[in-house]
């Protein structure tokens, strides 16, 4: 086996470097979808490369080594064993990530009557969350509605509805699972999370015909929650970026950035394919030996 089998494990780092820049340059919609697709390709290539490495343990089967001792051993056994362990770990954390995203939504969704699509919660903490499902709901706290003016409330609702309409939870779950499989993809996941918010901001701005209004609603809600939630550097930065982007919309430059994403993801997939053909050759050597 050649180096090709290791490429899919490392290439996601390149994608991670590109992710933040790509997000700003592609625009929210293309960026979110593009990065998610590139991320899941990279994660799939990772799993496949690990599987190929683990499968090289095949020649250690008693029946094989008894039949033809001295078969070529393409990778050291410890590498193969590590790969096998990594697959189990990756699968485990992907499942856990999916579960962690779904379980609060399931808990929050209630069967009580909704006003339109809104379920009100009597709680002082300003909070608005989209709860995907059939039908989609928006959980809104009294703290949030009292914080905002009527038009700002409409902006929040339009934002959350955009999440529901465009099924953003699916993109987020996919990007989350990809990052759980290969931790090098975490920056990609975080960029997708940011771009989904930007996408919903833009939809709200278009629907209400007022970018400033949405910027104000985002800023107000974020400032009001500052003392309550532990400050997470990443997320805070995200809010500032969102407000900035609403004030002066960045002009997306799609062409070259999209090409870079496609090339990186395609390289990971290509490396996986080369590694596969290497493996087939190896398998052939084993079986005819």
């Amino acid at each position: 086996m050649t180096y090709a089998v290791y490429l899919p494990l490392i290439l996601p780092a390149l994608l991670a470097v590109a992710a933040r820049r790509a997000g700003d340059r592609l625009g929210p919609r293309n960026g979110a979808v593009g990065l998610t697709l590139a991320g899941i390709c990279a994660a799939a290539a990772t799993v496949w490369a690990l599987a190929l490495l683990a499968l090289t343990l095949f020649d250690d089967l008693p029946s094989m080594s008894a039949r033809a001792p001295g078969l070529p051993e393409p990778v050291p056994d410890w590498v193969a064993l590590t790969a096998a362990a990594a697959i189990i770990l990756a699968a485990g954390s992907a499942v856990q990530d999916l579960h962690q995203r779904r379980s609060p939504v399931r808990l929050l969704r209630s069967d009580q009557a909704a006003a339109g699509d809104v379920v009100m919660a009597a709680d002082d903490e300003p909070l608005a969350v989209a709860l995907p499902g059939r039908p989609g709901r928006i959980l809104l706290t009294t703290g949030m509605v009292r914080l905002l003016g009527p038009r700002e409330r409409s902006a929040v609702l339009a934002h959350e509805r955009a999440h529901l309409t465009h099924r953003h939870h699916l993109l987020m779950a996919t990007a989350g699972a990809a990052a759980a499989i290969n931790p090098l993809l975490r920056p990609v996941r975080d960029s997708v999370a940011y771009l989904i918010e930007r996408w919903a901001d833009e939809e709200a701005a278009t629907e209400l015909g007022d970018r400033d209004l949405v910027a104000r609603a985002v800023a107000k809600a974020a400032l009001a929650t500052t003392d309550r939630t532990p400050a997470l550097g990443v997320h805070g930065g995200v809010v500032v970026r969102r407000v900035r982007a609403l004030r002066c919309p960045p002009r997306p430059v799609t062409g070259r950035t999209m090409a870079a994403l496609v090339v990186t993801a395609a390289t990971a997939v290509a490396a996986a394919i080369i590694a596969t053909s290497d493996f087939v050759v190896l398998l052939h050597t084993w079986l005819v030996a």
Binding site: Q100, P104, A122, A221
Partner: protein, 120 residues
């Protein structure tokens, strides 16, 4: 730019939010004034009655009309569930897509500055 016409479901949620935001009973005229946007009085009244049918809103007679206020029960149940779901998770930002939350002190400064630029 004039906002697009709002669908019925959206109006229902906006009326509900307005009632909660007010913190006191509102007449249909009050709601109409709060929401603006060229809503007809009859439309507001229809929505309020629909919310009453769902037992999300109660009303009492006042003068020649009615005043409406939101029912606490349902919202308290929702809040309890919310607390149960959220308080168990110190990492909720990571798994729940909140509208906007969790600013660092520096970010708060930047944001206030941005807001001030806006209003001045």
């Amino acid at each position: 730019m004039e906002a697009k016409r709002r669908p019925r479901g959206a109006l229902e949620s906006e009326v509900m939010a307005a009632l909660w935001a007010a913190g006191k009973p509102l007449s249909p005229a009050d709601v109409q004034a709060t929401l603006g946007g060229g809503l007809a009085y009859n439309t507001v009244q229809t929505i309020l009655i629909r919310l009453m049918d769902k037992e999300l809103v109660r009303r009492a007679a006042q003068g020649r009309g009615h005043i409406y206020w939101p029912v606490l029960d349902a919202a308290t149940t929702a809040a309890d569930r919310m607390r149960a779901a959220l308080d168990a998770r110190p990492d909720r930002q990571a798994v729940l897509q909140q509208f906007a939350a969790g600013l660092g002190a520096e970010d708060a400064e930047v944001l206030r500055a941005l807001l001030d630029e806006r209003t001045s």
